[in-house]
Symmetry: C2
Subunit: 275 residues, 2 copies
């Protein structure tokens, strides 16, 4: 039986692209939300799940961070980094000058503001719930329409590509993680993701933790804070470090960090992505 | 002449609520994007601008952080914290059982998932570009429809409130900032927001900076990292500290931090918000 991979659907989104890059022989199963992808993995509907965690322009995907913090039983097994390329799609034969309506997810629209404002200043923008839904709705529109979508969505819905790479910033990449019931054994070039918080907010507690990593020359690949959901002003810190939690040096520091923090959770160790 | 305040429109959004809380005698001018609000202040179309910077569930508003990092000439003059209350709005006389279509901004939908999934499991969800547009579109819908919107949008569009407080988490607050050409003089209970980055990524550089604040007992109210836009893996750090940049202790530390960082920018000092 082919491996089943849950992903944030529908078909034609960037997450489907990431799942295909991860394993193109697997059976891909779309789910309607990021928490649903985690439930699919925990409950055994799928062996793995693929979700976005960070975009170079937009920042972190908060649904994924919150899932890693609060959901037990899923671990990061792999990371993938994909370039994000937005396409302007139309029904075959539609010309740029005739476009009256533009379908787009609000986030994609925000990433393509320059092209839209310059080339389609008077277009009527209609919001869609996903990049794929934008293309689907464009294809059944009764007005001359275009949609901001993925190359994969163009294939699925038989849309014509009017323009490619229409995002404002050329260097737009998204990092995805593969979730599973266990993380990855050591490979020699690994990363570890974890979170922690403090019972008391005196100055310097975060610094004490970072110092423990710095003293052992363990590099910090990322630091992020999330509001604790109780209030603004109380934070959970999320960090990525270089190394595997089974490495003796890393393991020793993590034990020390656990002792000085209140919440402490390792999301998993996994091979560092190389294109 | 009344003070002119630019805000992220349209009318009926939470940002308009924040602008009204800040100064209800001012002339409020809606702008179509967060960068446009900053341009309005810098160019003199408005004396002040109001934008959201952080939500307790969703995290930071990345457009606002990027604006503070990259736009010169605007400073944070004030902060405001507002509870975010989502309402379910309908055309007068529409009953809950008859609702077939739901208009919502994708983010508001994400915050109200429980009520929608339980009470309206078969509703056809239509995306809108803002919380206000959702209500406007609902009011002209030819199907029995509802919209997720604000109380102010109910007033503006003469919609009926079917349910209040429909968000999943009761403690949902958003922090807004007032932008102006200058920040605020010291009041004795202030905060200062700033950002910095490092030319080199060796372990411990961030810690050295945080240590400087900790040593002088200056509390860190918030830490955040943003990808530098060049690539994932290089970060700009944003922190809020207690105190005013004109306080001698803070001023001295900031000078030291400037010396060990590459990018360094103070977004402003302003009175700490108290409800």
């Amino acid at each position: 039986m082919a491996k089943r991979i849950a992903y944030l659907g529908p078909q034609g989104t960037f997450t489907e692209d990431a799942a295909l890059l991860h394993d193109k022989t697997a059976q891909l199963i779309p789910f309607p939300s990021i928490p649903a992808v985690a439930v699919a993995v925990v409950s055994g509907m799928a062996e793995e799940g693929v979700v976005a965690i960070e975009n170079s322009l937009e920042g972190s995907v908060t649904d994924t961070l919150d899932l890693l913090i609060h959901e037990s039983g899923v671990f990061i097994r792999k990371e993938l980094v994909l370039p994000i390329e937005h396409y302007l799609l139309v029904k075959p034969g539609t010309e740029a000058g005739g476009v009256k309506v533009l379908y787009s997810h609000p986030q994609a629209l925000g990433q393509c503001r320059n092209v839209i404002e310059r080339c389609f200043p008077k277009v009527n923008v209609v919001a869609a719930l996903s990049n794929a839904a934008a293309v689907e709705e464009m294809m059944v529109s009764t007005h001359p329409a275009a949609a901001i979508g993925t190359r994969r969505a163009a294939e699925i819905y038989s849309a014509e590509i009017l323009a490619r790479g229409i995002q404002d910033k050329a260097s737009n990449v998204t990092r995805f993680v593969v979730l599973a019931l266990t993380d990855h054994p050591p490979t020699g070039s690994d990363k570890t993701s974890l979170c922690f918080s403090f019972a008391d907010d005196r100055p310097g507690v975060l610094c004490e933790v970072l110092q423990k990593f710095a003293e052992r020359n363990i590099n910090l690949a990322k630091i992020e804070s999330r509001p604790s959901k109780e209030s603004l002003g109380r934070y959970i810190f999320l960090i990525d470090i270089e190394g595997h939690h089974d490495d003796s040096l890393v393991s020793e520091v993590l034990k020390q960090v656990r002792e000085v923090t209140s919440l402490f959770k390792v999301f998993g160790s996994y091979p560092r992505y190389t294109a």
